[in-house]
């Protein structure tokens, strides 16, 4: 794939079936099998991409690749979710609730 977001390699002494991402199974041959991956912009999940696979989902709001389960939901970048979560902790501390552990 063009501009992959990562690289995965499976090393197996015999042909095996691998279940990738909890979404699909794939037969791989003995030896080394390589996959390109990308990380969903909305849920931060790693998705393994089949060689020559053209099926992919793309968010036209944040202009990044997303996984198939996120395809039916509105754009909410994962980094934005993180900022919201961190802001909540900051706010609690500013109110005097020292909830650090």
């Amino acid at each position: 794939m063009r501009n992959p977001g990562g690289y995965a390699v499976v090393t197996s002494p015999e042909p095996v079936t691998v279940r990738l991402d909890g979404l699909r199974c794939e037969e791989i041959a003995a030896g080394i099998s390589e996959f390109d991956t990308f990380t969903c912009c909305h849920c931060n999940c790693v998705v393994h991409v089949r060689p020559r696979d053209r099926e992919e989902f793309f968010c036209r709001s944040c202009m990044k690749r997303i996984c198939s389960p996120c395809a039916n939901y509105p754009c909410m970048p994962f980094l934005k979710k993180l900022e919201h979560a961190e802001a909540r902790g900051e706010a609690l501390r500013s109110y005097g609730f020292d909830e650090r552990k």
Partner: protein, 180 residues
């Protein structure tokens, strides 16, 4: 930014012996934001998991194994964990000149009560034969990120877990983390 390698190897200088794998998920490694060490204020730091290596070190056989990285609320108290933990430590640093880790790390948990899993999509999952090994490396910008928040606020870390219905030996896991 400092880089760390967290392995569940018992020779890594911390952690108890590797826990046998069972049908329930066992935590191999975990990393979480924490103010426990507070080497440098404010303590809470975001982190990025950018490399995962998994495998087994038991007797070879044909068993189905599942490995997953999950978001979790991790109780960041060293005494609450079965294995000893290191925080504010430079033991896992890839470059010893870097600052010590601000976050919380744990390996080989035999008590999953310290890990409260989040009802969110599993960021990384693979089901694989016990004989195979696997490595994933993220390109810059595609890492798995955990937030800079405490366990009291919400999910504060990532755990690498393994389970198997048939395999009862031990599994190996190694994660590489960049602390912001």
């Amino acid at each position: 930014m400092a880089y760390f390698s967290i392995s569940n190897s018992t020779v890594s200088g911390f952690g108890s012996s590797q826990a046998p794998i069972s049908g329930a998920y066992k935590t191999l490694c975990c990393v979480a934001a924490s103010t426990q060490a507070a080497v440098v204020a404010p303590g809470l730091r975001r982190g990025k998991l950018y490399d995962i290596l998994i495998g087994t070190n038991g007797t070879p056989a044909d068993n189905y194994m599942e490995f997953a990285v999950q978001r979790a609320t991790i109780t960041t108290s060293g005494s609450a964990w079965a294995g000893s933990l290191s925080s504010g430590s430079s033991a896992m640093a890839l470059d010893l000149a870097d600052q010590a880790m601000e976050g919380f790390t744990g390996v080989n948990s035999s008590n999953e009560g310290q890990v409260s899993l989040a009802a969110t999509p599993t960021p990384w999952y693979i089901g694989i034969n016990q004989r195979a090994s696997y490595r994933w490396v993220a390109a810059p910008g595609s890492e798995l990120i955990y937030p800079a928040q405490s366990s009291a606020t919400g999910q504060n870390g990532l755990v690498l877990q393994a389970r198997s219905g048939g395999y009862t030996g031990t599994a190996t896991g190694n994660i590489f983390v960049q602390e912001q």
